[in-house]
């Protein structure tokens, strides 16, 4: 039981992510989470504005059911399958975050300074969440996939465009973490 409640190491988690992808393939579908954002836009009537959203979104219902399951899984995993709420990040990462002013980095899944309800009264924190979300939504659709569609499914299927996309993920991620966050993270304090 303690194995279930402890965090799962990478060599358990990684193969299980492959299992999620392979299950969906055997169910006649594919593993791609960012498509749901397009589907939700289409469901909300975005087809009135752009032809990109005029497609048979009812055929994507299965993927919205995966999303619903993921929300439930998040609830079950965080409330019943954890014996601690902390995240096992490295000591160097903790020191770096403390240097920015974060309190007890890694003691919870998300940093309170950005994601807590109290942080919703901080306009800079809200702006960072909105800009981050916007870039994720715009970038994944422009790239044609995200971590699930390109990094896991695409690389597993030896797709060269997916390798280019994953290189892009790291170009953007490294730029943000090393060149942009050092200027904007201090603004939330």
């Amino acid at each position: 039981m303690s194995f279930l409640l402890d965090p799962w190491p990478w060599y358990v988690s990684g193969p299980l992510f492959a299992l999620v992808m392979l299950s969906l393939i055997v169910f006649g579908k594919n593993f791609g989470m960012s498509s749901n954002l397009r589907t939700l836009c289409a469901v909300g009537g975005a087809g009135k504005w752009a032809s990109f959203f005029r497609f048979d979104f009812k055929a994507q219902k299965w993927n919205l059911v995966v999303v619903l399951g993921a929300v439930l899984g998040g609830f079950i995993g965080s409330h019943f399958l954890q014996n601690q709420s902390s995240v096992g990040i490295s000591p160097e990462t903790i020191v770096a975050l403390e240097g920015y002013g974060f309190e007890n980095p890694g003691s919870q899944i998300l940093p309170n300074e950005l994601f807590s309800v109290a942080a919703l009264s901080n306009p800079i924190a809200i702006a960072l969440l909105l800009v981050g979300g916007f870039l994720v939504g715009f970038g994944t659709r422009y790239a044609g996939g995200c971590t699930s569609g390109h990094a896991i499914s695409g690389l597993s299927n030896l797709q060269l465009p997916s390798l280019v996309a994953v290189i892009g993920f790291f170009v953007g991620g490294l730029l943000m973490t090393h060149l942009i966050l050092p200027y904007i993270l201090p603004l939330i304090f």
Partner: protein, 137 residues
């Protein structure tokens, strides 16, 4: 009832994202600073096993549950959009700390702020849809 298996996959995926800590903003920050092998190990081992699985599906012409031979669609050879769009996503991933799976899982943990991230991601997808014909692919 035919959707029950997708609900089950989603629940398992959500639990897995929690238990692997891949939903954590801290893990993404740490990954981009190369301060732990954790995220690289997850993605690397997922791809290694996934590649073996997909090769096996192709070699033995495995059929899906409905009996149709499995055809895995190739990704469109749009290298410009893969690189530019991928980089834009990377900027957002490192800032918000969540990609399009974890953002829903985090709502399930009770992180209401994630609803803002999801709303903004929907806006980003919508704006991409508006500009699509004007962007290089």
């Amino acid at each position: 009832m035919k959707y029950l298996k997708f609900l089950a996959v989603g629940v398992f995926f959500g639990i897995l994202l929690i238990k692997s800590e891949a939903v954590s903003w801290f893990r993404i920050f740490e990954m981009f600073r190369f301060e732990s092998f954790h995220m690289f190990g997850i993605i690397g081992s997922a791809v290694a096993l996934g590649a073996i699985g997909i090769a096996a599906i192709k070699k033995w012409k495995v059929k899906d549950l409905s009996g149709t031979p499995i055809q895995i669609p190739s990704k469109a050879p749009n290298y410009k959009s893969a690189l530019i769009g991928g980089s834009i996503f990377g900027l957002g991933w490192a800032l918000a700390g969540a990609c399009p799976g974890p953002m829903y899982v985090l709502v399930g943990t009770g992180a209401v702020s994630m609803l803002l991230v999801i709303a903004a991601a929907l806006a980003g997808t919508f704006v991409y849809g508006l500009l699509r014909d004007k962007l290089p692919h």
